[in-house]
């Protein structure tokens, strides 16, 4: 709101997105999560005399019952159609805690809310035969009682398939059926093994095609790739920690999480550490054709060298939770090293395998001794800390 006021007062290059931002979720200076949830659910923006869906009248600002009631003419507003129905005039559906199941199986429709339409199992009509009878009567997710569906909220409330208006159950698939391979995929029809874009071997041992031919390759300045390159001999992989969320932008400001995982690290095998003269806890440099970064070495027997096509291949692992401002000495994100390539259909990044080099950092980082800095911070009086240093005198003379 302060930024908005400043823009209103002083203007700016492109003020409209800020000054015209709708932001009325604050209550007593704090964000009211209920107001946000209601906005996501959706509401009527004006009085409606006769709604086209149920011919009933709705007042302005009444919450919509679900997305079926949304109108494309501006008379309704909704933050996300999937969650429409999660916060209605009946209250906060997400906060419900009624453990009563439906009669036929362990589905708890009055516990919380599930998108869309509080449906608990998507494509649930696949669990019945063409006449609407459950394949497994003991666990009947949904049943056609002759005139309507009972059990879970039907995924598309059309009659069973044997009846005239029946439809296939996989309503979001182009042909309505489940499939290993179907229309719309860039590669297939059968699963195939390809090597990653950057890999330590020249040839795909299983076929003549090394990488997925249907994957688009970018051609920007930073899109430099390499394979079997002695300059980048090691395989790198990336993963996450429980302590940080994605880039760490939210969690790195949380002092209890950042104290638990404070800095960029690279996990490597005892064998590779020996090869490169790296000791546990040493600062190291990691480089790929695309960039270079710094990390603390974590030497572990959890990572072991592979034997790939007869040669020893070393693996290193790191996270992408660090970077930029906080903490100042946290290091960077491994995204500096990763190649921009994804799978052929959705471009889900191929950050699990790429090539890097790891070397001991020649110029050691200046870093204060952690022991000296660690403790007295929270104390009001920053006196020199007189903590007795470990007294591991496990005495006892017998």
């Amino acid at each position: 709101m302060r930024v908005k006021d400043l823009y209103a007062k002083e203007g700016g290059t492109f003020p409209d997105p800020i000054t015209k931002l709708k932001w009325d979720y604050a209550k007593d200076g704090k964000v009211d999560s209920h107001a946000v949830a209601k906005e996501i659910n959706g509401y009527f923006t004006e009085d409606i005399a006769e709604h086209p869906v149920d011919k009933k009248a709705y007042k302005k600002e009444t919450l919509v019952p679900n997305f079926v009631f949304l109108l494309a003419d501006g008379r309704t507003a909704c933050g996300n159609w999937l969650y429409s129905g999660s916060y209605t005039e009946a209250g906060n559906m997400m906060a419900r805690r009624d453990k009563t199941p439906v009669a036929s199986c362990n589905i708890f429709p009055r516990w919380g809310y599930a998108w869309p339409l509080n449906r608990r199992i998507i494509y649930n009509r696949a669990s019945v035969d063409p006449n609407g009878k459950p394949w497994d009567p003991k666990r009947a997710v949904i049943t056609w009682d002759g005139s309507k569906w009972v059990g879970d909220v039907p995924d598309n409330a059309v009659p069973p398939m044997a009846l005239p208006n029946g439809k296939f159950p996989f309503i979001m698939k182009p042909d309505g059926v489940a499939s290993f391979f179907g229309p719309g995929l860039a590669d297939g029809p059968f699963p195939e093994h390809y090597e990653p874009l950057e890999c330590p071997i020249e040839k795909n041992p299983l076929s003549s095609q090394r990488i997925n031919p249907a994957t688009p390759l970018f051609k920007g300045d930073l899109d430099k790739y390499t394979t079997c390159d002695p300059k980048f001999p090691f395989v790198a992989t990336t993963y996450r920690l429980t302590e940080h969320w994605q880039t760490g932008l939210m969690t790195r400001y949380q002092s209890w999480l950042v104290e638990a995982e404070p800095q960029m690290f690279v996990e490597l095998s005892v064998e590779l550490a020996k090869l490169r003269g790296i000791k546990n806890g040493d600062p190291v440099n990691i480089s790929s054709p695309r960039g270079k970064m710094w990390a603390k070495a974590m030497v572990t027997n959890r990572i072991k060298p592979f034997t790939v096509a007869g040669q020893t291949v070393h693996l290193v692992g790191m996270t992408w939770h660090y970077g930029w401002l906080v903490p100042k000495d946290g290091g960077d994100s491994s995204n500096i090293l990763t190649p921009s390539i994804g799978d052929a259909n959705t471009l889900i990044p191929e950050y699990k395998v790429f090539l890097v080099n790891v070397t001991k950092e020649e110029r050691p980082k200046v870093e204060k001794k952690p022991e000296a800095k660690a403790e007295p911070k929270a104390e009001k009086k920053p006196e020199p800390k007189p903590e007795a240093k470990p007294v591991p005198k496990a005495e006892t003379k017998k």
């Binding site: 209890w256 638990a260 929270a378 104390e379 470990p390 006892t396």
Partner: protein, 242 residues
């Protein structure tokens, strides 16, 4: 004292998520520390005035991966040696709650550096820490939560069943039952000093491989030292008076 309360820490179930470590800091409002990655995921590196619970990571060297997690904290000894020592140094600095058996520091009593050194030395598990202002910091058993019928924060937060808490008798039963189960897989499984402490760890390997102070080195020796100190105490007090 009544039977009191006891923790059972089943390390076979610990995944080192550190929910307990963070929950402890949250409930007790302890500040985060400035830490650095030092070749282990363990951080903060040790207990401190602000860190009362720390999950210790121990990677046993060797070809086979053995990675032990030890959610370290005050053991709330049945007869706490730290309290014994504190009695002679700063009376009332450490007290024991009648009902639960919780060993609690008194934040209002300041302690001299030399005196604290002795208190810490007396602890077989190397737990007590002190602030710059001479205040002891360590686990309180979340006595403020227990009195309200709540579980300690670390137990409440534990998603795996590692941290358990309850009446001593029931917890001992639970610990022994689990020990028998685990013994079928790990023949060296043991409970760490179950008769002496109110935080009983279940370990499946040499305790030293978990943490230097996982078990008391020699409770008998410590007790003897305590007894010795107890004999000396009146003399010292006399000296002060004279």
């Amino acid at each position: 004292m009544a039977e009191g309360k006891t923790f059972f820490v089943d390390t076979t179930k610990c995944t080192a998520c550190r929910g307990c470590q963070v929950a402890c800091k949250q409930w007790n409002q302890r500040a985060g520390e400035k830490t650095y990655s030092q070749g282990s995921h363990q951080n903060p590196p040790d207990l401190s005035f602000n860190t009362w619970k720390v999950v210790r990571f121990s990677e046993v060297p060797g070809e086979k991966v053995k990675w032990y997690f030890f959610p370290d904290q005050c053991r709330h000894c049945v007869s706490p040696p730290c309290k014994e020592v504190a009695e002679g140094k700063a009376k009332g600095a450490i007290i024991q709650d009648e009902k639960t058996g919780a060993v609690i520091f008194n934040p209002k009593v300041k302690i001299k550096v030399e005196d604290f050194k002795e208190i810490r030395e007396a602890c077989p598990y190397n737990i007590p820490r002190i602030s710059g202002a001479g205040i002891i910091g360590k686990c309180t058993m979340c006595i403020d939560r227990i009195k309200e019928g709540l579980l300690p924060a670390c137990v409440k937060a534990c998603p795996t069943g590692t941290m358990n808490f309850g009446d001593r008798k029931e917890i001992l039963e639970k610990a022994n039952k689990r020990l028998a189960e685990v013994k079928t897989t790990y023949k060296d499984a043991m409970l760490a000093n179950p008769d002496d402490v109110r935080v009983i760890f279940l370990l499946v390997d040499d305790p030293k491989k978990y943490h230097k102070y996982a078990v008391a080195e020699n409770m008998i020796g410590i007790t003897r030292k305590m007894a010795f100190k107890r004999i000396l105490r009146p003399l010292r007090n006399l000296q002060i008076m004279g």
